[in-house]
Symmetry: C2
Subunit: 262 residues, 2 copies
């Protein structure tokens, strides 16, 4: 649901999420608009989650807002490098409709891949967050890429994107803290390589468009410092045979369910 | 179905597979007896597969026999290091019941992890096989291990088991040849690391005991030299809600279906 707001010009729209539990200011005309990915990422944290969350590459804040709206004891820091998206996030926090969430949301305009003193100076302290969530920008390049599948696979993102993002997540998460991410299945190898010796007990949950087709996304949850092995969870199926969104997908994208038990 | 054979002493049994399409001589009393894992691994190759197959760590030959029984244009080399298991494989080939498969089956008693000239001298030529299948011995250690989950995860197998096995697979598969393996989900990270720059286009198919529980196995198929990305396929569910084996699992384990399209 997109709405007009007299305070915003037509470069922006206001969109409603979680059956209007919160609204987001988003660019009206580019490819950064939030959707199901951000909602599924947010669903990786349990209802009873309590503590601080860093949403890395937050965009307009969709995943972070979705966590704050469902987890009433969560405080969320939205970390976004692009000035226009960080502005959207700040405008979203200021919307009167979001007044109840406002005390638990903030924005840091910074590059996720900063390291050491630069990262700390930007406001991302070490061992500080109870959870880190991330939806790395895997679609931005592919949206504009050649349709040639091999070229696209090679050029979607720099090879070390997950290494850099997960390195930051490991630095800022507290010991025992949670990492949650959503990505394409094709990124599983670099993701698992980047988790090594940082996060363990990974739970990988495949997201299939329907019961008969390969997964289009994975949602992964892991714990900093854990030595437990990887698990492959029962998948999420987005659509029923008749093409309608599945009951579970609808509940998940509207903040009425969580992806993982516990 | 276990049968007695006057030619074999009671250290061995003869077991029937694929609704008696073939029989295997197996040790009667240890943990190496073949079962559903070998049948699912064999189901990774298409019916119309045509060419040579190396079954690495073949044991008594269950997976290789299952490929030969279903794929009528496949020739299978069973590679097994343990003398007793290689003997079982040879006895299996000699069983009168298996006479029709005999011309397409052979045994090499060798260590899968041999390299260079030693590997070639053992009969495993480079770039020679149209397919390599493997069911690495991930259960052997764990069967005897402490019940402590962390200790078990650390001690089930040497860290480089998949690196060494997949290195051999990459050496002996022809360009464009197929690798198929079955393993535990917890081994996904070392498997994907070992595939890197050797095999691509990996299709990972999770095997769940029932629809509600985490996967207990993955079956993976990949192609030597491919640059295509990883896919997560719709899972195989072994048991229905009422506890009975699913129709698909029954067909797969009896050589009446294949795991992957094409």
């Amino acid at each position: 649901m997109a709405m007009a707001d007299p305070l915003l010009d037509d470069r922006f729209s206001i969109d409603s999420f979680h059956r209007d539990a919160f609204r987001l200011v988003q660019p009206a005309r580019n490819g950064h608009r939030a959707g199901i990915d951000a909602m599924l990422l947010a669903a990786a944290l349990p209802d009873e989650f309590c503590g601080t969350v860093a949403d890395l590459g937050a965009g307009a804040g969709a995943a972070g807002f979705a966590v704050a709206a469902r987890c009433r004891q969560a405080s969320v820091v939205l970390v976004e490098q692009e000035a226009e998206m960080a502005k959207c996030a700040r405008l979203s926090i200021d919307l009167p409709h979001n007044a109840q969430l406002r005390p638990r949301l903030s924005v840091i305009e910074a590059d996720v891949t900063l390291t050491g003193g630069q990262r700390t100076a930007a406001g991302l302290a070490s061992d500080a967050f109870d959870a880190v969530v991330m939806n790395p920008p895997f679609n931005k390049a592919s949206d504009r890429a050649t349709p040639d599948a091999l070229k696209r696979a090679a050029h979607v993102m720099p090879d070390d994107l997950f290494e850099r993002w997960i390195r930051t997540a490991a630095a800022i998460a507290r010991p025992g803290g949670v990492l949650a991410l959503i990505a394409r299945p094709a990124s599983l190898a670099p993701i698992l390589a980047a988790l090594d010796r940082r996060f363990g007990g990974a739970q990988v949950l495949p997201v299939h468009p329907d019961a008969g087709r390969a997964a289009i996304r994975i949602v992964l949850r892991a714990q900093k410092g854990s030595r437990a092995g990887l698990s492959l969870m029962p998948p999420l199926i987005l659509h029923e045979e008749d093409g309608r969104i599945s009951r579970r997908a609808d509940a998940l994208t509207n903040g009425r369910a969580t992806l993982f038990a516990g």
